[in-house]
Symmetry: C2
Subunit: 158 residues, 2 copies
């Protein structure tokens, strides 16, 4: 054993660090997109959340969007004001429950996002296409496991 050497982590721990590095890079990438389009990171997160929901065919009222992003009602109003001013979303009264205001993403915003994130997504999909079934399952199992670990350790202390 060489005590002068820094402790070298095993491949597993190194992989965890790698995952963290990737999340940092992705966050920076989002921030660049935001900056380039006169937005803030929160605005991008909001658009992503809205697109995810709309992909699932779900209508998103103002309050739900705020909850997804961890904002209070005042902050949520301000956020949607910004996005509306940029033409990325529209407010639509819910006719079922007229207290609620639904947030709709403008198709041009979707297009804008795909223009920016498309290449990255494409390259990643190509990378995965080179994997056989077991390797792909390993990657998915890893990501699923991490997600569960995060949500679990979140519920740990209320």
């Amino acid at each position: 054993m060489d005590m002068a050497e820094q402790a070298v982590p095993g491949p597993e721990l190194e992989t965890v660090h790698l995952l963290r590095a990737v999340t940092v890079e992705l966050a920076l990438h989002s921030a660049r997109f935001a900056h380039r389009n006169g937005m803030h990171p929160t605005d991008v997160r909001a658009l992503i959340a809205l697109m995810d929901a709309s992909r699932g065919g779900e209508d998103i009222p103002v309050g739900r969007l705020g909850a997804l992003l961890g904002l209070n009602s005042a902050g949520t109003t301000a956020l949607i004001d910004r996005l509306e001013r940029l033409g990325h979303v529209r407010r639509v009264r819910d006719e079922r429950d007229r207290r609620r205001v639904l947030v709709e993403v403008d198709p041009r915003a979707v297009e804008l996002g795909q223009e920016f994130f498309g290449p990255l997504t494409g390259r990643t999909v190509d990378l995965l296409k080179g994997y056989d079934e077991r390797e792909l399952a390993a990657v998915r199992g890893f990501l699923t496991g991490v997600r569960e670990a995060v949500t679990d350790s979140a519920g740990q202390r209320p």
Copy 2:
């Protein structure tokens, strides 16, 4: 083909979405840690960057920390003021080049971070320990590939 059905993505695209979901969860987890300790997301990112550097035996001056986080000098000063006020870091004049001020992490901050992130890291390492060599290589190759794809598409448009 059923046109009424939403387009079902292949397993590759679904995996990309899964990765995004994981990064979102990790960001929220970080935010919880920040909030619980009277900090902001940026402060946590700063601590992580400092710990990563110190693990590599690298001294971090104020300006470099700011650059890593994308802050300008004023913002960096304010950030370190906050962290110093909480006792998480110390400013130390670099005796080699007395213009520079190095930022040192307090051991108690490291401990605090490990207390919070340790369980998550541990569970992830355990998960990976169950993988054989090829599966582990697949996960690492995936993460490395994504990281490269991000940095590449970053350099695309200056």
